[in-house]
């Protein structure tokens, strides 16, 4: 029973808390206290829970455990006078609105207090219940609004503080004004090391210029700059950086936000993966060389006569070894492309000469299949600056695919000079690609059903590599196709690049 009583009391207390507006009045004058009490009674709703204190000392004492909605205070208390009274109350409570009760002669003082954060003031001589209720309502609304803001801010602060990336806020002269825990952890700085220091100290001079020019406005939120930042000890650390300028409503720059993410581990894994892929591919090549040459020597008759059946089996074996070789090459390429390790060598080249070479390369195979390869060129010479070997690889993959999927008909290679860019396409009259498969053609290891026909089995990486290479040249690649109606792969290469 006792328990139940306690629970009921608690509920009652909570209810009271929520229903009634809790007011603390600091008023040294007995008559004024009586006046306020009377006026509060006249206010119809809400109901009040009023506590009166006659000295500042008592008031502050009470405030330590009192969490009410509004404080009324006279500026002149027996133990405190003027603005000081307001300041002392304010220092005790940040959140509760304070309404000052002033005498006529104190009005100037009261307005000053409002400027330094008091909610409002009431001149006691002019006091009436309407005024009181209005001031109270405003005070309570303001408190609610402030609580909401506080909660929202608290939410963002929690995100900011606990974020696994370093977030640094700088002012318009690029001095550090605020930062989160991760910043100190990532860069080994203590609090005193950062406040009002130049943000540029986090980077080497050259890197800092890069960071600032790579602002989020210019590159969008998804792109990141990978760069080295400096810890307090000047030890470099691999980070991914974004720099966003902050502006106020009229467009004046007020500062910026710098976000750093530690990518040391990612970099380490990338290097490890690269080394692994390149070692494996290297290690696989030696035994493959031996197998391939052994089989070739049997086929070439270096080791004596072979029967027709033996020849046939050896030829199939050789083809498979070559396919294995292509897979290794492609894996190496895709691994480099994905790691961003593939660097292009921009050298002047002539597309006309380049595609003629590609045509020559495929000519014997196409002739055997009865397929014509034709070139459509917008002029006799199409100059471009790019990586010749890589672009040959793009054409080789596309023409190779076209031959693979085309039983009869033709393959058209078209190059047109569009001024600002060069447009290339490889079109065939083959089996085409279904609408279902179309979105996935440039994905890795996508191999689509095809009629068993001549040509080598692919690796499923060719088109991903093409896409990678075209994108390295800052171009675009796409495919136009319908099932049974052939396929046309188009790519554009801009003449200007950044």
């Amino acid at each position: 029973m006792k328990k139940k009583n306690a629970a009921e009391k608690k509920i009652k207390r909570l209810k009271q808390k929520t229903d009634k507006v809790r007011v603390l009045v600091l008023e040294g004058d007995g008559e004024d206290r009586w006046l306020i009490q009377r006026l509060l009674k006249e206010v119809r709703a809400p109901q009040f829970d009023v506590a009166f204190m006659s000295t500042l000392r008592e008031g502050l004492e009470r405030l330590r455990q009192w969490n009410g909605d509004v404080i009324f205070s006279d500026l002149q208390l027996p133990d405190s006078h003027g603005l000081d009274t307001f300041k002392k109350i304010r220092s005790q409570t940040r959140k509760i609105p304070i309404v000052l009760l002033s005498r006529l002669e104190d009005e100037k003082l009261a307005t000053e207090a409002v400027r330094s954060g008091a909610q409002d003031y009431l001149v006691k001589a002019k006091l009436n219940s309407n005024m009181l209720s209005r001031v109270l309502r405003y005070a309570i609304e303001r408190k609610k609004a402030e609580e909401e803001i506080y909660k929202a801010e608290e939410r963002y602060r929690t995100i900011f503080e606990n974020s696994a990336v370093a977030i640094i806020l700088v002012d318009q002269s690029e001095r550090i004004v605020s930062w989160n825990k991760c910043t100190e952890y990532l860069l080994d700085y203590g609090k005193q090391d950062l406040y009002l220091k130049q943000a540029s100290m986090i980077f080497a001079q050259e890197a800092w210029q890069k960071v600032k020019s790579f602002s989020a406005e210019r590159h969008g939120a998804t792109k990141r700059l990978e760069i080295k930042a400096l810890k307090k000890s000047k030890e470099p650390i691999e980070v991914d950086v974004s720099w966003s300028i902050l502006k106020d409503v009229d467009g004046t720059v007020t500062g910026a936000i710098l976000i750093l993410q530690d990518i040391t581990e990612r970099k380490r894994l990338e290097t490890l993966k690269d080394e692994f892929v390149s070692t494996v591919s290297h290690e696989l090549r030696t035994p493959m060389t031996i197998i391939r040459e052994g089989v070739s020597q049997v086929i070439d008759g270096l080791l004596g006569q072979t029967t027709k059946d033996q020849q046939k089996v050896m030829m199939i074996t050789l083809e498979s070894i070559d396919r294995l070789g292509r897979i290794i090459d492609d894996l190496l390429d895709i691994s480099k492309l994905e790691a961003g390790k593939m660097e292009i060598e921009r050298l002047p080249l002539d597309f006309v000469e380049l595609v003629r070479e590609v045509k020559t390369l495929f000519f014997p195979m196409a002739r055997d299949q009865g397929i014509e390869i034709s070139l459509k060129l917008s002029s006799e010479r199409i100059d471009y600056q790019g990586d010749r070997d890589m672009l040959v690889q793009v054409f080789t993959n596309l023409v190779g695919n076209a031959l693979k999927f085309t039983k009869q008909g033709r393959i058209d290679i078209e190059i047109s000079d569009k001024g600002k860019y060069v447009e290339c396409s490889v079109a065939d009259t083959g089996c085409g690609i279904s609408a279902h498969d179309l979105p996935r053609v440039f994905d890795k290891f996508q191999q689509f059903k095809r009629e068993s026909g001549p040509g080598n089995r692919g690796t499923g990486l060719g088109l991903s590599i093409c896409k990678g290479i075209v994108e390295l040249h800052q171009g675009e690649i796409w495919v136009e196709s319908k099932l049974g109606k052939g396929a046309k792969f188009v790519f554009t290469l801009p003449r200007q690049w950044s």
């Binding site: 591919s281 030696t286 060389t289 031996i290 270096l302 070894i321």
Partner: protein
């Protein structure tokens, strides 16, 4: 056969590769000598003065690059063509060898026609 057989030195740390390449080259009328690393290769160059060298890059003791550097110190061999014979496919690896004096490269696994064509091309000139 009036012309003297041309001698090719294969420097490769993999004996089976040596066997395979030697068989192919001998079948095409070349004389073949072999070395298992750069050091041994240098000895053979001094002693036998081959007409052309097929050179691997990754080898113990002395690798292909060091071999090329050391070879420059031997007099009278500056016209000896060296074809890199390697499983390294990165452009910078090849470029480095060319910079150090190699004339061309063949990537492993190789096609016999490509290998023979390149050898003949550099023996002619």
């Amino acid at each position: 056969m009036s012309a003297k057989k041309k001698t090719i030195l294969i420097i490769d740390d993999e004996p089976h590769i040596q066997t395979m390449v030697a068989t192919r080259l001998q079948a095409n009328d070349f004389k073949v000598i072999t070395a298992l690393d750069g050091k041994e290769g240098l000895e053979k160059v001094k002693k036998e003065r081959p007409d052309l060298i097929l050179l691997d890059i990754m080898m113990p003791e002395m690798d292909g690059y060091d071999f090329l550097r050391e070879l420059k110190k031997i007099s009278g061999v500056n016209l000896m063509p060296i074809i890199m014979f390697t499983a390294k496919v990165r452009r910078e690896d090849i470029d480095k060898a060319i910079y150090l004096g190699a004339v061309d490269y063949v990537i492993k696994p190789f096609t016999s026609t490509v290998l023979l064509d390149k050898i003949r091309q550099f023996l002619k000139s």
